[in-house]
């Protein structure tokens, strides 16, 4: 702009102006700091998603620390297993038990099924609630993949699931020997989850 000469730089008009200029300098770095904070936050979010610590779809269960709700479900037709009711869970279990909501149409249920089989083999009582399923489909599922359930209730209307606060299958609840719900997992069980959370809980409530 000025090609010809050098305008002498205006000296600071007074000390106050210099002070405001200095105090405003941090404003220059504020956007950078905000961006840095956002990056950190995003990183924490991604990390949480990766480890499962942060789950945006996770709804905390309202039933933790409460006795299992009142319910009585008929057995799954033709499965040859007894049905499931609240009395079965409150009446002094020998070991902490799992209550697993599942359906044959649910793909994550298929994914977690081998883990339920393993837990049942190891002696953890696993109780099933078959959610909104056709009995023949559910029977076929168990015939093909094995049956981990000591008892199996059929909840075709999905009403008992609402009493448990279920919002989608699969969901798994840990019930202690006194019939109190101690833990809930929404979504398929995974081997890391089994080792990091479920086994310690099973031991603690044994």
């Amino acid at each position: 702009m000025n090609d010809t000469g050098s305008l002498p730089h205006a000296p600071p008009r007074d000390a106050a102006a210099a002070r405001t200029a200095r105090s405003r300098r941090w404003l220059l770095y504020a956007p950078l700091a905000a961006a840095g904070g956002a990056v950190l936050g995003f990183w924490a979010l991604l990390r949480g998603l990766g480890t499962g610590r942060y789950d945006p779809r996770g709804v905390p269960s309202a039933l933790i620390g409460q006795p299992v709700p009142d319910f009585a479900l008929p057995p799954l037709e033709g499965a040859g297993l007894p049905g499931l009711s609240a009395a079965d869970l409150r009446g002094g279990l020998e070991r902490p038990a799992l209550v697993n909501f599942w359906a044959s149409w649910c793909v994550p249920c298929l994914v977690e099924h081998p883990l339920l089989m393993r837990l049942a083999r190891e002696g953890t009582p696993v109780f099933g609630i078959n959610y909104k399923d056709r009995p023949e489909d559910a029977r076929a599922f168990l015939g093909r993949h094995g049956n981990p359930f000591a008892r199996l209730g059929a909840d075709q209307p999905g009403r008992v699931a609402i009493d448990w606060g279920v919002y989608g299958v699969p969901e798994t609840y840990l019930v202690d020997r006194g019939g109190v719900i101690r833990w809930r997992w929404a979504g398929p069980l995974t081997p890391p989850l089994l080792e990091s959370e479920l086994r310690p809980l099973l031991r603690r409530h044994a």
């Binding site: 309202a62 709700p69 448990w164």
Partner: protein, 166 residues
């Protein structure tokens, strides 16, 4: 054609609303008594669909939302008060199911945020005003030109005057 596209873009935001209204349009779901149905709807609009999360159960097509709608209507038909119905669902699904979260220690910041933001903005404006009053005309004040500057300005003005056409 572009005009039609523009019209579509204008109306597009309305489409989900129209679809959502269809979700509860099933007459079989409604209660026969319009007053009870209105109550059920008002309750349902306060309850979150846990599958789709940002819709109320009245707006959602999800299976669970339909079940919950039915449950709300059953309870109302059985003579439960609005508060009892909400308590029934809340006991099962916790605070998350309420689209208007209750004021607790955990949600205090959420509820206080509008007031905090307003107070913060007000404080910033007050501070800026006070600073401006403390240093009047600081922004428009200019240093007087030095002798050398004045001479240079005169030279530039003279030069510009010569170059000006006409």
């Amino acid at each position: 054609m572009p005009r039609r596209a523009a019209l579509f873009l204008l109306l597009a935001p309305l489409l989900p609303a129209a679809a959502a209204r269809g979700a509860v349009g099933d007459p079989a779901e409604r209660l026969a008594d319009p007053a009870l149905e209105a109550r059920a709807r008002a309750i349902g609009r306060e309850l979150r669909c846990l599958v789709c999360q940002n819709q109320s159960i009245e707006d959602s097509n999800a299976d669970l939302a339909r079940d919950l709608r039915r449950l709300v209507r059953e309870r109302i038909a059985a003579g439960a008060s609005d508060a009892e119905v909400v308590r029934f669902v809340h006991a099962r699904y916790g605070d998350f199911v309420l689209l208007r979260p209750p004021l607790t220690a955990a949600t205090a910041l959420l509820w206080a945020m509008p007031a905090l933001a307003l107070a913060g903005g007000g404080a910033a404006i007050l501070l800026a005003l006070r600073r401006r009053r403390a240093a009047p005309d600081a922004a428009v004040e200019t240093a007087p030109l030095s002798e050398a500057e004045r001479a240079r300005l005169a030279a530039l003005e003279a030069e510009g005057g010569e170059r000006r056409p006409s």
